[in-house]
């Protein structure tokens, strides 16, 4: 046996022993909830085995998850969109709900979309559906982007600069916004005053990327804290804090 195989077997053994103890001592109840916690712990640890190296246990959990998650999406689409918004209104059509007949249009477009992966004879139908979704999405977004991301962002930038802390902050914000825009300006070479401005822009960008960087690290660590909490409290059933 190779070293990796020994580690693998030892890992399974330790996991089994712990669980036998947990079920034996009634820390984990012998029902679906208890079995679920056992399974969840198993999946969690299988995924962490990636830290040692990429291995079948990790791939097992990862691929099982992909299938389950795909089916979960399918299920929600059926129960809260397709069934109540399409199937029910169309199957229960009567004289009062004739306006629901319009739903045939998006349903057909949706079915057209599914032809994309079919033979070449029909796949052009999917282009009509894509044209509808992408075209409408583009149209709806243009005025709203201008309102929410351009105008609404310009107005608070253009405020009176007063000789106070707030005024200073407003000035710094103005300098930052302007220089960052200069950095992302491609029609002029970055030399002379433009070069200086774009250099200042880079500093602002770097401070903000630093903030994002710190926050991202924070986020990943929080996730790990959450998982460790699950293993300690839900699986090993420890009363925290111990000391």
């Amino acid at each position: 046996m190779s070293r990796d195989q020994i580690i693998f077997v030892a890992f399974l053994f330790v996991f089994a022993v712990i669980n036998i103890y947990l079920f034996g001592s009634d820390s984990l109840s012998a029902d679906w909830a208890g079995f679920g916690t056992f399974l969840a712990a198993g999946i969690t640890l299988s995924l962490y085995s990636f830290l040692y190296k990429d291995n079948p246990l990790f791939k097992f959990a990862e691929n099982l998850y992909v299938g389950v998650a795909a089916a979960y999406t399918l299920t929600q689409v059926w129960y809260t969109v397709l069934f109540p918004d399409v199937v029910e209104p169309l199957s229960g059509l009567d004289s009062q709900s004739m306006s629901n007949l319009w739903l045939i249009v998006p349903t057909l477009l949706g079915l057209f979309m599914l032809t994309q992966l079919s033979s070449a004879t029909f796949s052009w139908l999917s282009r009509i559906a894509f044209a509808f979704v992408v075209g409408l999405g583009a149209g709806l977004s243009i005025p709203r982007t201008i309102a929410a991301n351009l105008l609404a962002q310009l107005e608070p930038t253009m405020q009176p600069i007063t000789p106070t802390w707030e005024g200073l902050n407003l000035l710094i914000i103005l300098v930052g916004v302007v220089t960052v825009l200069v950095y992302f300006f491609y029609s002029v070479e970055h030399t002379g005053p433009v070069g200086v401005a774009s250099k200042i822009g880079i500093w602002f960008l770097m401070i903000s990327f630093g903030a994002s960087f710190g926050y991202t690290i924070m986020a990943r660590l929080s996730l790990l804290i959450g998982r460790v909490g699950f293993l300690l409290e839900d699986w090993l059933v420890l009363e925290l804090p111990l000391f």
């Binding site: 990636f50 201008i146 009176p160 991202t216």
Partner: protein, 402 residues
């Protein structure tokens, strides 16, 4: 003395009573809506204290001489804070307005009757004092109708139209002649890194992000790949292109093949240079990490849209000592590339690089149009702040989303 004081109070009360009657009452169709609403405007009382005491009730009737019924309106509107409709001037703070959408008919039980379009309504504003007295105003009339243009969005419409014309104009211009784009430092770094791989006689690894061909970043990445492939063909360096999406793989094969053909080295191309690695995010990263450690490419190029796997890829690449050039418009992943790669194309720089390399009119023209847009925003912001500091907020108000 006491008598004298009483007198003054009496005179003052009389004057006050007269002043309690709401003045300047005007009614008109509520602008920028689909009808069913009338806006009533009247003067603000002389002082804040008085305004606090008075309770206004609006009566609506279908005939000039009544009967009038009390109206339903949104109480939150009973003030003058709608600069979009009434402007920013000093005089707006001297007006009060209410939007009426229905009135209550005195039937049993009382019935809510909605304002109809195209029908004349007569309104009266009644001021109620804490003392129980009430003072009705003169009657005003108005008709509600549907509007065809939301004037609050005029600035939005104008800005959008101008910007659209600039972009479309830029694209048309770019089809006629080549437009100037500044030197992009990342592309020079790219050439240097490719040269390094040639010197060392080690392969170059090109890694696509996770998005499919529908994404702008993937299209940009493919344009960069075309340049990379051209160079590796010239330098006779080994190139490997890693993919997650089958369509991106097929497109990349075409692009690499064409670049090798253009460089006069069709013999050096094989389909195996462009390959699928894995479909799942972490499997993709893990497989590529393995490849980096085993084959130790001299140069790693990571282009496209990346998610959390960016760190796994760039960290392993850096630890093998490879020169790494990254480019992504995924701003959350940029910091990881900046700290682990030798050069990073940040956000829009990736698109600019792609336009620079492909010289496609739609990309070049669009980039140019966006540059003009940025220049306008830049000037507006500087001017607007200057003016605002000098006490003139006109420009700020023009560029406000209402």
């Amino acid at each position: 003395m006491r008598y004298f004081l009483c007198c003054i109070t009496l005179v003052f009360c009389a004057a006050q009573a007269h002043a309690q009657q709401p003045t300047g009452v005007k009614a008109e169709d509520t602008p920028n809506d689909s009808g069913g609403s009338i806006t009533v405007v009247w003067d603000y009382p002389e002082s804040y204290e008085k305004a606090e005491q008075i309770r206004y009730i609006i009566s609506v009737g279908e005939f000039e001489n009544g009967p009038f019924h009390s109206a339903k309106y949104n109480e939150a509107n009973l003030q003058s804070t709608d600069p979009g409709t009434f402007g920013h001037g000093e005089e707006t703070s001297q007006k009060i307005f209410a939007r009426i959408t229905a009135y209550v008919a005195p039937t049993d039980p009382p019935k809510r009757i909605a304002i109809e379009n195209g029908k004349t309504y007569y309104v009266q504003v009644i001021a109620h004092l804490p003392s129980g007295e009430s003072f009705p105003s003169a009657v005003a009339s108005a008709e509600a109708y549907e509007n065809f243009f939301n004037t609050l969005k005029t600035n939005n419409f104008v800005l959008g139209t101008i910007f659209s014309l600039v972009i479309l104009g830029g694209i048309i211009l770019a089809q006629k002649r080549d437009l100037f784009i500044r030197r992009i430092a990342g592309l020079e770094a790219l050439d240097e890194a490719l040269g390094r791989a040639t010197e060392m006689g080690k392969p170059v690894l090109f890694v696509h992000g996770l998005h499919d061909m529908g994404s702008v970043s993937t299209i940009a990445a493919v344009n960069v790949l075309s340049r990379v492939a051209h160079r590796t063909a010239e330098f006779n360096t080994e190139l490997r292109v890693a993919n997650r999406d089958p369509v991106v793989m097929a497109v990349s094969q075409e692009v690499v093949k064409e670049s090798y053909l253009n460089a006069g080295r069709p013999d050096a191309y094989s389909d195996d240079m462009v390959f699928m690695v894995a479909t799942e995010q972490f499997s993709y990263a893990a497989a590529l990490d393995g490849m980096m450690v085993r084959d130790r490419p001299a140069t790693n190029i990571l282009m496209g849209y990346f998610y959390a796997e960016s760190l796994l890829l760039a960290e392993t690449g850096a630890s093998t000592g490879a020169i790494q050039i990254a480019g992504t418009d995924s701003y959350t992943q940029l910091p990881f590339f900046i700290t682990t790669c030798d050069y990073t194309l940040m956000g829009e720089e990736l698109y600019a690089a792609s336009a620079y390399l492909s010289r496609e009119p739609k990309l070049l023209g669009s980039l140019k149009g966006q540059d003009i847009g940025k220049a306008v925003l830049l000037i507006v912001m500087i001017l607007g702040t200057l003016l605002a500091t000098l006490g003139n907020q006109t420009l700020t108000h023009i560029f406000t989303a209402y």
